[in-house]
Symmetry: C2
Subunit: 414 residues, 2 copies
């Protein structure tokens, strides 16, 4: 049999098959109630309206939609995205915009453009797994920053001291990665003050901020807080923020469609990188989503998604209140948006071990350790509330409560 | 204004905005007859049948098509691809198959998996520009091998000696990149003997072969020659060949859909790499093309494409006979398939300069130098015959003949 390993790049050897993604397969057995995935609820997809929009493309520009397109993205879609952002108070032109195959491709492009092997990215502890994978695939590393106990952003004192130490140690830091709105995995949302403080840190150090905003529009409680991209734009306007957006959570992930907003000089570099990656994004889907956006119906889909997820998140929080052991060392986030909440258990519980017990009881989650680049916390877990039904949330949390209680009992009565 | 350049990776600094792609914009003015692009003829796209297939997806699996999918690819599409390959005599299983966002993404994945900065890829002189861009984007280099004057593959003696010299010089070679069927840019097609010889070279050296086959099905004259992948499979079956296929030339490039065939151990590695690049390929489009393939109509589209391109290629070759100066130092390929032919002019003509004159006369081509990693030949040019109309081919080649004659006259009567 062929052995290719001697030809592999250092990057290949640093790529990690995510154990989380492998475990997801385990949790997909039909009798398991899974809070492990990160899927949107399928009943939010506006199938009939999307069908109508696709048929308009076939009617009016079929051959164009089937031909090669430009790397920058379809003009029609970019015009709709500019309007979509304008409605949120963000002013961009086509030169600030690159259409990509959803946010993961954007994470790849940014990592490729900035990271040499051994370079560092500043990111949260915890943070999004896919961002870690993109960084690792270029043999780069993460300088992890914890969040405040108020869960309103980075602990800025730790950021300042970690940064100073890293510089002293000769580490090369290339950018700061954050998900200020309802972070995956934790559901944390950054306060306006913390967003401003991070932007000031960026101005002071010159470090670009990569602001990943897949859940930004899915706020179902409270008032929207300006994105860091918008704060920069309406303030010093130094252009140091790169903002990633995607249709995956506001419309449908199967379209694999997203966009990057950034300074025009960076967009031009991203275009060169993307050219060598896939020439251009799916042309048909770009025109299709542009046509759909022209109907003006996306806003009501987002509104409907918010209502559904608000209800499910409330069900899950209520069920946790009812079924989890009542202790000071057990708590969970109560996110105002997004798809996830984050449960912290007593320090002696390793959620990777707990997951095996949970699967025996036919309930699943994601163990928190996978969301750390290094030195993981072992006593947290991520729960998704967008995909399971109301009944599944009720019954699944009940089962989880039992599993946690058993782990505590086993520890206390060894 | 923000200056990001101090944060760029070495890879970013080695990425080259293709001058060819920049020039393409020049040649897209409506009054210019352009042989410069590489677009399929839009009248081969089966718009109505594709519309019908898309509507079947909306009818029968709308929510699934709009949801996340697996990185490996949609099961239904992979089943159709397995049948499609079986019809050509290639036997694969799902474990040998990864669905990708067309061939350029495959070129990126392979480059990422194998190439460290400074590594080498063996490739033709000339070769496909997009492959060069992918290689350069990982700061790797190309060991260029010329083709025989019979245009039937690499000059194997040069390959052997170049390889030996490179090893002596300590160069790390990672794979061999070839487009055996109607190469872009030249239209060259490798003979069976040369395919076998390259495979033997691969067995002897252990080097994987990356066989790029976008035009394989578009043979419009003569008998198909087995792919190197197939020759390996039906012979020693050592699994050293990676074969890239795409819907871009056999159906429609706007779908951005292709597939990699390789040893299962390599596919597993590719999956990990792709996960960090874009999670999965456009799910809707995968199900859509699977549905279209199930209609059994793809073969007749390919047959129609062959007929159309055969006619256009013959028109172009005939026009060149009529309009180009008749000299021993001017000749062109007469490809039996694909989208391109390759014109060689007297050695003193630099086709990059000639292009400026040609654009003045409202005709365009691609100067050949861009298809070399280094030490380019300057007296060749690539002409596309799939996209222009019959009238454009006639008139455009007439104009080109005049431009070439003027260059010769200017040289001979300075």
């Amino acid at each position: 049999m062929a052995d290719f390993s001697k030809f592999y790049s250092d990057n290949a050897n640093n790529m990690k098959a995510s154990t989380i993604r492998e475990l997801l397969k385990l949790t997909q057995k039909p009798d398991i109630i899974s809070f492990a995935g990160g899927l949107p609820a399928p009943d939010v997809f506006p199938v009939e309206d999307l069908r109508a929009a696709a048929n308009v493309v076939f009617d009016t520009k079929g051959t164009k939609a089937l031909q090669y397109g430009t790397t920058e993205g379809d003009d029609g879609l970019r015009e709709e995205l500019i309007k979509f952002e304008a409605n949120q108070g963000v002013t961009i032109t086509k030169e600030n915009l690159l259409v990509v195959s959803a946010s993961q491709q954007a994470l790849d492009i940014v990592a490729k453009l900035f990271l040499n092997p051994g370079d560092y990215v500043i990111a949260g502890r915890p943070t999004y797994l896919g961002a870690l994978q993109a960084i690792q695939s270029y043999s780069a590393r993460v300088l992890g920053i914890p969040f405040t106990s108020a869960q309103d952003g980075f602990d800025m004192a730790v950021l300042e001291s970690s940064y100073a130490q890293a510089l002293t140690a000769g580490k090369k830091i290339k950018y700061i990665y954050v998900i200020p709105d309802f972070q995956n995995p934790s559901g944390f949302c950054w306060s306006l003050e913390k967003r401003k403080a991070l932007l000031e840190f960026s101005y002071k150090t010159g470090l670009p901020i990569l602001e990943d905003s897949p859940y930004r529009e899915i706020r179902f409680i409270g008032e929207s807080i300006p994105s860091i991209y918008e704060i920069d734009q309406k303030g010093a306007n130094k252009g140091l923020v790169i903002n990633l957006k995607t249709f995956s959570k506001i419309l449908a992930p199967g379209t694999r469609m997203g966009w990057i907003m950034a300074d025009h000089s960076l967009i031009a570099k991203f275009v060169v990188a993307k050219q060598a990656m896939d020439l251009c994004t799916n042309v048909f889907t770009q025109m299709w989503l542009a046509e759909y956006m022209r109907t003006g119906k996306l806003e009501s889909v987002i509104e409907g998604t918010r209502a559904k997820y608000r209800a499910k998140r409330t069900l899950m929080v209520d069920a946790l209140e009812r079924y989890m052991p009542k202790r000071n060392d057990i708590h969970w986030t109560k996110p105002e948006g997004g798809l996830f909440l984050w449960v912290t258990l007593p320090a002696y519980i390793d959620t990777a071990q707990l997951l095996l017990k949970a699967i025996e009881k036919k309930v699943a989650f994601v163990a928190g350790a996978g969301f750390y680049f290094d030195n993981p916390e072992h006593n947290s877990l991520r729960m998704n509330f967008s995909y399971p039904t109301a009944d599944q949330i009720e019954e699944g949390v009940r089962r989880l409560g039992l599993v946690v209680q058993e782990a505590i009992t086993a520890h206390e009565n060894p």
